[in-house]
């Protein structure tokens, strides 16, 4: 079994983050493996651990994102593919899906895993778009994944409950961070990761160009930005409990209309 995991480098959410002109400043020096990507890597490692095979991680990003590939290799992935794009400004989910699709059209796999979204934009679109471009059966927001008789069985978190979905291989699954607790790479893993193969690929190698992707694929345009609105203060009721209950029920029924 070969599982291809699409991973992303994002700013560390626990480091101080600044918003400049409505966009997240990416110049904080602390860049880390996206937590949803980490769950996807972990799940792929568990699957290949149980059924044999290997995990390849694929990342689109600048030169310094190589460190994030190494992190996934240190966790246990066998090899990495670095699709080198130094200037990522202006690229949206559709652009990432286009680039990742071009790579996967020329590589082999039994499944593609991605995070259900990524911590920087939280858009949650690339996985679905990639499945569509690759014409793969697809399931989003997985919280469990097993493999049996050439088929993947996905437990996904739906709006009203959990659903079980069976997908023929090859397929694409986007992973929730509730799926598992990603392993922390040991220091031996970190040292060994230096010796694992990482293939660097350019957009040109994939028959793409940055201008072409920006001009033809990107559909997102920033029109403006607003600060997050502050929360309205709640109402506090004081007095006789019996009166308060009827007052509260009245408000819930007539004003909030939730009863």
């Amino acid at each position: 079994m070969k599982i291809s995991v699409c991973i992303k480098q994002v700013p560390d959410v626990s480091a101080p983050i600044t918003i400049k002109d409505g966009t997240l400043s990416q110049d904080s020096d602390r860049m880390v493996l996206d937590a949803y990507s980490a769950s996807a890597v972990e799940e792929a490692l568990v699957l290949t651990g149980a059924h044999g095979g290997e995990v390849e991680v694929v990342l689109v990003g600048p030169d310094k994102a190589k460190e994030t590939i190494r992190k996934a290799l240190a966790m246990g992935a066998a090899s990495g593919v670095h699709i080198h794009v130094e200037d990522m400004s202006g690229l949206d989910s559709a652009a990432f899906a286009e680039i990742l699709a071009a790579w996967h059209k020329q590589s082999s796999y039994d499944a593609v895993l991605t995070g259900k979204q990524s911590q920087d934009t939280d858009a949650g679109l690339t996985g679905g778009m990639l499945a569509w471009k690759l014409d793969l059966p697809y399931c989003a927001n997985a919280v469990g994944l097993t493999y049996e008789g050439g088929k993947f069985l996905v437990k996904r978190q739906g709006d009203t409950g959990q659903e079980m979905v069976e997908l023929e291989s090859p397929c694409l699954v986007t992973c929730s961070n509730d799926m598992n607790d990603p392993r922390i790479p040991s220091l031996k893993g970190i040292m060994q990761s230096k010796k694992k193969p990482v293939k660097t690929v350019t957009l040109d190698d994939l028959g793409l160009s940055l201008d072409g992707v920006k001009g033809g694929v990107v559909k997102t345009e920033g029109k403006g930005f607003k600060d997050v609105p502050g929360r309205e203060p709640g109402k506090k009721f004081e007095g006789d409990p019996a009166e308060l209950v009827s007052q509260l029920v009245n408000l819930l029924d007539n004003e909030a209309k939730v009863l």
Binding site: A15, D29, I184, K188
Partner: protein, 420 residues
């Protein structure tokens, strides 16, 4: 607007100067410390619990003795990486970092540097996985800053040595499988009176390691005594060549280096917690952070922390390049512990009454740092080391105003006064 953004955790971007291996090791240590140690820290401190899974967990991630070469179970990482690990662990609790420092710097390091090939092969791999836990016995009940006056003896006998005496304030001693013990040689020919190092196993007859109770600091790690009552140590467990205070001093210098980074982690955590608190806590209609007094306190903290970061990073570089001197470590240990303690106390003050409770965790760092500022050479003793370097005059022992009754006459030989 400035072209670049200002990072209020790392004002001069020292982390950007770290190599890739070191950064990745730092991330592993941080992930482990925050996800596994932080959730149990408050209760562990309150109830004096050192979870015996912690050594195993650290061993599985290869966080113990990282500078030891791979062939002996380490990973041959840099001193910078070792420091970064200490910083991440002490961000949670100095007690956990104390465990790690002792295992790495005071037990694995001397075996690696002074041990025979057999000793290295026998002990280091098991210490790296925490299958064995170690401790380090130098300080005695009556000999702290002045260990050269130690009274524990090792008497030469057939096939080995017999140890008698007691050691005190020994981190890990109640749980240790082996102890690195320093004692004065007797009946040893040309080695008579010289300090020698021994690897003592816990099941030796006459060996005991009672726990020290009622500590108000470092409550989440074990501290105890070591008592030797005619304990026989075979020749195979003696460090063959190191003699004098150079032995223990080499170990302490390595451990102090870890403390330089560890105290930085504790200070950073206090600053982060105080910053978050004053942003959220409102009094007189405004967040506390809107007050000038609070803002200058935060500015002082960030300024001190930035200096501590740069000092730690530079010292790590010098160690990695083999250009360090023990007095550099004294300077940095003294500076970083002193400042960390000041930062922790100010942070505690900024948290007001809430800062008294354990849940906010700042007072926890305050009481821990009282120990960290004291052990491995007190703030003042390191001041005397630097003072001697600056002036060429040792001031460890009083001169000109000796007490008439002082017996024996004070000698200038102290641990720190000894050239290495």
């Amino acid at each position: 607007m400035a072209k670049n953004s200002f990072n209020t955790d790392d004002a001069c971007l020292f982390e950007s100067m770290l190599g890739e291996d070191d950064r990745m090791i730092m991330e592993t240590a941080r992930d482990y410390a925050q996800s596994r140690l932080e959730p149990r820290a408050c209760e562990a401190n309150q109830d004096e619990i050192f979870d015996m899974n912690i050594p195993k967990e650290m061993g599985e991630l290869n966080l113990l003795g990282v500078v030891v070469p791979e062939e002996y179970g380490g990973i041959g990482a840099s001193y910078t990486a070792y420091g970064l690990i200490a910083r991440e662990i002490e961000r949670v609790d100095s007690a956990y970092r104390s465990f790690l420092s002792v295992q790495s710097s005071l037990v694995m390091h001397p075996i690696n540097v002074f041990g025979t090939e057999e000793q290295k092969r026998k002990y280091l791999p098991k210490l790296a996985t925490a299958e064995l836990i170690g401790c380090f016995g130098l300080t005695e009940p009556d000999h702290g800053s002045d260990p050269g006056s130690m009274v524990t003896t090792a008497t030469k006998t057939n096939g080995g040595w017999v140890l008698n005496g007691a050691k005190m304030w020994i981190t890990n001693s109640p749980i240790a499988d082996i102890a690195i013990v320093w004692a004065k040689a007797k009946n040893a020919g040309s080695d008579d009176g010289k300090i020698m190092g021994f690897i003592v196993e816990r099941d030796s007859d006459g060996y005991s390691a009672p726990t020290t109770h009622n500590k108000m600091s470092l409550r989440a790690s074990f501290t105890g005594e070591l008592i030797f009552d005619d304990v026989f140590v075979p020749d195979a467990n003696v460090f063959p060549t190191v003699r004098g205070l150079k032995g223990p001093f080499t170990c302490l210098n390595s451990a102090r280096y870890g403390i330089v980074w560890g105290s930085l982690g504790a200070a950073e955590n206090c600053y982060h917690r105080a910053r978050q608190y004053v942003m959220e806590r409102k009094q007189f209609g405004y967040p506390l952070a809107a007050n000038q007094l609070i803002q200058t306190k935060l500015a002082n903290m960030l300024t001190d922390i930035t200096q501590m970061q740069l000092l730690s990073w530079r010292l790590g570089n010098l160690k990695d390049q083999g250009q360090d001197h023990p007095s550099m470590t004294s300077l940095a240990k003294r500076n970083n512990c002193g400042r960390a303690l000041d930062i922790a106390r100010v942070a505690r003050d900024m948290l007001g009454g809430n800062g008294i409770t354990g849940e906010y965790r700042v007072i926890h760092h305050v009481v821990n740092l009282e120990s960290v500022n004291t052990y491995e050479g007190t703030y003042d003793i390191h001041g005397l080391i630097l003072g001697r370097d600056i002036t060429g005059i040792q001031a460890f022992t009083p001169r000109g105003n000796d007490l008439p009754a002082a017996k024996p006459e004070p000698v200038a030989q102290t641990l720190e006064a000894t050239e290495v």
